[in-house]
Assembly symmetry: C2
DNA sequence: GAGTGGTCTAGACCACGTA
DNA sequence: ACGTGGTCTAGACCACTCG
């Protein structure tokens, strides 16, 4: 028995199915053949057929729903605008920018807030210049849309600045945490945005109900006050199947080199 | 209710190894036990051990190098600044912004350029408002650092604007394609940045030499001239193990809501 | 109860780099 | 030549949802 050139059998299975997905033969939401059907059609065992499907799942093209079968994945991208989440709000809103933006699009946003005093994770301690062993305040928010988890938004503040303030209450801050920071004498005048991309942790998979093959963007915002001290670090975890990050540039806000 | 939930065997293997990776017992670059060693330690078959390792590979924590073994993955993030890639350059450089930025950091940047006239992919046609069936000019660049592929940068232009110009030559445009566009009467005054995150296509895996478990960011820039016509669409494919996207905001360039 | 995918075993042979 | 991971077979039993 000689082996054919085109590579592993499971690869041929994956390639054929992927071709059908990308050319529209199998449109989003369509059901794929069952594992047994694939095994018979390609004359392999079920395990080998599964390996081909696994590759498509890993590539985010297919989801498995037990016991219905495998389906072509569908996507729905909501706009995520870092520039809208910034600085004290000029007009007093009842909700924060997330809630306002979503409500204005006819969605049903909810969020679960929890506040804690914790040892900051290293990526936060670096950016806040937190001394070793010192703890910080974190406001953790799980934002949902129509009952489905949407993204995570964890804001970290130095205890020395926000201790005892409204920020430590686990309730909506209608006028925005940034406004409160400004009232506390630390208005933010500059922010640094960093976007990392990676696969989610098991904890993130669970909290955000992520399908297999869904990477996340980690959007880290560091806010600085007028004395250039970091007063706020936000870790946003954005599932890739629900977000597109958007921002605009004009000549005036483009960096001079 | 003392029923323990140890879960699948491969999951326990993955969990134990992941714990050792995240707590530093297995630092970046360290070699993991071989598949046979894992199979013996957990008293399972090699296939089951492989399934545990596969999960870690999918999560981007581990790479497999045949026939050496499995290793904890290491990352190296270079800064990627969308704001630096914009508008005509104020001072005439010999290289484009990528080459300049990298050289200034002591790297050895190279790029392979190829120019073609093609039917635009749908995401480009939408943004350039290309009529059905009309073709566009694309400058495709594979940028490398120290001989290793780094990212893809494909710039699309309407034929009506750049036809016959310097942009159609597959050579470096020292003063930048944006400067050439400006000379052709289409200076860009505004740009829209969109960032999608997804798993790479097989073609991208090949062209960028991506390891398994490496998602990519797709950074799409649409440039508009003073009459608000789209004159340029750039598709950047940024491997997550080599890029962090960075931009800065000050009060003046933050959106008013 | 039927049928789906999920897990697991006990083998086998192959491809490939290093010693 | 050896040991690694990569592929594949031919079974088995389980968990879950739907009709």
């Amino acid at each position: 028995m000689y082996r054919q050139r085109p590579g592993p059998l499971y690869q041929q299975i994956a390639d054929e199915l992927r071709a059908q997905i990308t050319d529209g033969t199998l449109p989003p939401g369509a059901q794929l053949p069952t594992e047994m059907e694939l095994a018979e059609r390609f004359e392999v065992t079920r395990q080998t057929a599964r390996q081909g499907l696994a590759q498509l799942i890993q590539q985010g093209l297919v989801v498995s729903r037990r016991p219905q079968g495998h389906f072509v994945r569908q996507w729905q991208h909501m706009l995520y605008r870092p520039q809208a989440e910034f600085m004290p709000q000029p007009h007093a809103p009842e909700m924060d920018s997330f809630m306002r933006a979503m409500t204005s699009e006819g969605r049903e946003p909810t969020q679960k807030i929890d506040v804690a005093i914790v040892t900051p994770p290293p990526e936060v301690a670096e950016r806040l210049h937190t001394p070793d062993g010192e703890m910080v305040v974190v406001r953790r928010r799980l934002r949902s849309l129509a009952g489905q988890p949407f993204h995570l938004n964890d804001s970290y503040f130095p205890r020395s600045i926000v201790g005892g303030s409204e920020i430590m209450s686990p309730a909506d801050i209608g006028r925005g945490a940034n406004t409160v920071l400004a009232e506390l004498g630390h208005e933010q005048v500059r922010a640094l945005d960093e976007i990392y991309v990676r696969m989610p942790t098991p904890d993130e998979v669970h909290r955000l109900s992520l399908e297999q093959g869904t990477p996340v963007a980690l959007h880290i915002v560091t806010g600085f006050d007028s004395e250039d001290l970091p007063v706020r670090v936000v870790l946003n975890v954005l599932p890739s199947d629900r977000h597109v990050i958007v921002f605009e540039r004009t000549r005036s806000n483009s960096e001079a080199e």
